[in-house]
Structure formats: C-alpha cells, structure tokens
C-alpha cells in the first residue's frame, strides 16, 4: 500500500468505528428505561465503578491540593500575595484539575476495568449466550455500567476538588502559616457558583459521558482474544486521555475564553 492509500484506509476505518460506536451509544440510550426498572443492577455497578474508585480519587485529590498549596505559597509570596492562596487553589481545582485529573484517574481505574470485563465476556461467549437466552446484553450488561459511570464521575470530581481544597489548606495554612481566615474568606468571595462550580460540573459530566462510552465500546468492539483485549484496554486509556484533554481545551475556550 502506498502512502495515500494507507491514509484513505485508516480514515475509512476510523469513520466506520465512529459509526459503530454511535449505533452502540444509541442502543445504550434505549436501555435507559430498562436500567431504571432494574435499580439493583445499577446500584451494583455504582459500587464497582464509583465506590471502589473513591480512595484513589480521595488520596490523589489530597496530594494534588497539597502540592497546589506549596507551589501557590512559593509563587504568590514573590508578590506578597499569599493571602490569595485560597482563590488560587480553589479556582484551579474546581475549574480544571478536579474534572480533568479525576477523569484521567477514572479512565485508568474504572475505564480499563470495564473494557477488560466486557471484552472477556465477549471472548468467553457470555454476551452471545445472553443473546441466545433472548436477553439483550446491551440492556442488561452495558446500559447499567454506562449510567453508573455517568453518575459516578461528576460526584468523584466534586469530591476530588473538595478534598484538594482541604489539602491546600493543610499545606498552605498548617505548614506554611498562611492566615486561615484569608484562605477561606478570599476563596468565598472570589469563587463564583455559576462561573466556576457549575462550569466544572458540566465539564465532568461531559468527561463522564466520554470515558464511559469509550471504555464500554472498546470492550464490546474488542477482538475476542487475549491480545485483542489487551490492546482494547490500552486504547481505552489512551483514547480517553486524548478525548478528555481535547474536550477540556474546547470547553475551557467556550466557558472562560470569552470573558
């Protein structure tokens, strides 16, 4: 194959995959009613996907917040502005780091696990067996996992930001003696509910949609062999990371670029 042929070939492959994944997503949406009617399935997945990711998110959030606190004091003190530390920590967490880092961690922890699980179910013919029992695996297996991911990640991102702000407090106020009152009051004064917090939540909702969709589709579309599943799992993490960072740029440009 020459150079141009290979460009054409890979573009067509990409478009075909995009088409398959869109059909897959619309099938998930039709499973929404079924998921509502079977709350047990959803709760089990909320535990697997959300609760089990909590400690990773909590500890990472704490350390990211503490690093922000240390770096913030170091940089702000050159202008004598340490008292604004609270604004800096909270704004960076709520607007950017909370949604983005928690989504990246979520893709690594829960996304890869979902891909491997679905891929293995496909390889061991469990999905086929369900179809043969006249039970649609898209409704029974995929849809509850998708909605569990969709619900979990925004909550985890909020927890990440909240714990990060406490981490910033520990490093800045307890360790480096920034004034506690100014840390909290400046934060309260400067962080806007709509501009900062809601925009951050919107971001994490979009990341939740992206990561859950990518992870489940890669598993469902995986070549059902050992190497096929390992490649699909890798693709989930890599594609999710790219998608998260790309969409973060676009969303930031839309939300904060105009002001």
């Amino acid at each position: 194959m020459n150079f141009f042929q290979s460009i054409g070939h890979s573009s067509l492959k990409f478009l075909a995959k995009l088409g398959r994944s869109s059909l897959f997503f619309s099938a998930i949406l039709t499973g929404f009613g079924y998921t509502l009617s079977r709350p047990g399935l959803l709760i089990k997945q909320l535990y697997n996907i959300g609760v089990l990711t909590f400690w990773l998110i909590a500890i990472s959030g704490l350390f990211v917040g503490m690093v922000l606190g240390l770096q913030g004091v170091y940089t702000l003190s050159t202008f004598g502005a340490e008292s604004s530390l609270g604004i800096m920590v909270a704004a960076s967490l709520v607007r950017e780091l909370g949604p983005v880092v928690s989504a990246l961690l979520f893709a690594g922890r829960a996304g890869s696990a979902l891909t491997a699980e679905i891929g293995l179910m496909k390889a061991t013919e469990q999905l086929s067996a369900m179809e043969m029992m006249a039970i649609d695996p898209l409704k029974y297996i995929i849809a509850p996992r998708f909605f569990a991911g969709f619900i979990s990640l925004p909550l985890l991102a909020a927890l990440f930001s909240a714990i990060g702000i406490l981490g910033g407090y520990l490093a800045g106020v307890e360790l480096l003696n920034v004034d506690s009152g100014s840390y909290w009051s400046q934060m309260q004064g400067a962080i806007d509910f709509h501009d900062d917090i809601i925009n951050g939540v919107i971001k994490s909702i979009i990341f939740a949609w992206l990561v859950s969709w990518i992870a489940l589709f890669e598993g469902y579309d995986a070549v059902p062999t050992a190497s096929g599943i390992s490649r699909a799992t890798t693709r989930t993490v890599v594609t999710s990371a790219f998608a998260i960072l790309l969409f973060d740029f676009l969303l930031t440009a839309l939300m904060f670029g105009a002001s």
Binding site: M121, E125, Q126, S128, A129, M133, A134, I135
Partner: protein
C-alpha cells in the same frame, strides 16, 4: 387417513435451510447448502475442523446473516424477523456453547435461574423448584452453590445444558459438546443428550467431529465439507456408503481423498534436486 397423516409429518420440519450461502471475506463458508432438521430427533452436523459448523448454529439462531438463501425455523424466516420476534423465537431455542459460556459472576444456581427470572414473573419459591429440577436432570443438584470457576469442563457443560433447558425450549443446539472431555464426562454427556432428547421431546442439533460418540446417538447425520453437504443419512447408511471421502471421515483414516501430505512435488525429485540454498 394414515397416509395423509404421514405426509403432514414428513412435510413438517423444525428447521429448513434452502440454498444458503455465507461467506467471510473472500472465503465461502457455505456454498448453496440445503438441509432439514426433523422435530424430536437428534440431527448431527459433522465435518472437519474449520468447516463452519459453529457458524451454522449462529446462522440458525439469527446471530449472523447469510448472503443469500432462506433459513426457516418453526416455519419462520429467521433473518426477516424483527428484533422482538427474533427474541421471542430464541426463547424456544436452547444453545450449549463449547465453552459453556456461564456467567462468571453468578453461582451455578443463579446462572440457571437467570433466564427464568428475566423472562417470567414467577415467585422465588417456584424458581427454586425449577432450578433444582433442571440441575437434578444433569446430576448437579449438589453443586448449586459453586461458582463457575470451581467447575470442571464437563460439569460446566452440564450446568450450561441445564441453563439451556431452563425455559423449556423446543429445540437445543449443542456446539462441540464432546471436545476436550475425559472418557467419563464424555460418557455422561452422550447419555444426557440422548436421555434429554427422549424425555423432553426436544429437537436436538449436535455439531461435532467426534464420529463414534455422535454416530451412537444421532438419528440423522449431515457431513459438511468445503461449504457443501458431502454426505447425509442415518449412521448405518453413512457407514456403508460408497463415497471414499465419507468412509475416510467416518473411520478416521489418515490417508484417502483428503491426502495425508500437504500438496508438494514428488518426493524423489524433491530430495534429489540439488538447488538447496546453502
């Protein structure tokens, strides 16, 4: 009157496949194939590995679409049904996968209860009775609390058999039920397939290349090779047929129409030719 009755019985087939063609890429798996599966009989589909026997089961179940031809199950064209109708038809089919395909995060009990819970509104006490009866039929009532990972290959297949029977299907398809089994589980599986077929009046399709075991229970056998029906008949008819290929397959001879040697030039000239690359 009796003649009329016989005629109706003869006309009715559980599955009727006409001029079916299916290909993967450029390779034709089935080339204009036609066969019938009779009700309440065990029909075996045999052939060398890689002849698409499993593919045939997936076509019957509507998981794959043929390129052309018709496939009627219970007088309905499988590939023209809507999704709802297809799922309704599948409740009448049981399928035993080669790997068993048990759901790995559920116990044996829950695996068998799963299709009953999904498709009926029966109370849990009745589901328990049903599950234990199905498990008893395959001799694994005592294994109900085990997880699929704790089962041997033969036990997993028997559990899968119980699950395939859970919704009381009219027909059941066995995909390579004998492959990789020790002699005891092999004997158990052969006996079970025969017994279940008789007692439950099932129509069974057994896909296999284990000639002796399959021929011992099958009422009718189709031999498939290179996308075509290479031979068909009752086990006795096939054993006495004149076709060299059928004889080679049924008796497992190493050489015959399917040559032992991969195509190559004559051995004398090959060994004596002095163009070895040194």
């Amino acid at each position: 009157m009796l003649l009329f009755y016989n005629l109706i019985f003869l006309c009715y087939t559980m599955i009727s496949i006409r001029n079916l063609t299916f290909s993967r890429g450029n390779r034709k798996i089935f080339d204009n194939i036609s066969l019938d599966i009779m009700p309440h009989k065990i029909t075996a589909i045999m052939g060398p590995s890689g002849t698409g026997k499993t593919t045939l089961l997936k076509l019957i179940a509507g998981q794959l679409r043929p390129d052309s031809g018709t496939l009627l199950v219970d007088q309905k064209n499988v590939h023209q049904l809507s999704r709802t109708e297809l799922y309704k038809l599948r409740k009448k089919m049981g399928m035993l996968f080669q790997s068993g395909a048990l759901l790995t995060d559920m116990s044996v009990y829950d695996n068998i209860a799963f299709p009953i819970r999904e498709h009926t509104q029966l109370p849990e006490s009745m589901i328990r009775t049903l599950v234990l009866m199905k498990l008893n039929a395959v001799g694994l009532r005592g294994a109900r609390d085990l997880m699929p990972s704790e089962l041997s290959g033969g036990m997993a297949r028997r559990v899968a058999m119980a699950r395939a029977l859970a919704l009381d299907p009219e027909m059941i398809m066995f995909d390579e039920p004998f492959t990789g089994q020790d002699p005891i589980s092999l004997g158990v599986l052969v006996k079970l397939i025969k017994k279940l077929n008789q007692t439950l009046h099932l129509s069974s399709i057994v896909v296999s290349h284990n000639v002796v075991e399959t021929a011992s229970i099958a009422d009718y056998i189709y031999l498939i090779s290179e996308g075509k029906v290479a031979g068909q008949g009752t086990p006795e008819e096939l054993n006495t047929t004149k076709s060299d290929w059928v004889q080679q397959f049924m008796q497992g001879k190493a050489d015959g129409p399917v040559p032992f040697h991969y195509p190559a030039q004559d051995i004398n000239s090959d060994l004596l030719s002095n163009n070895a690359k040194l």
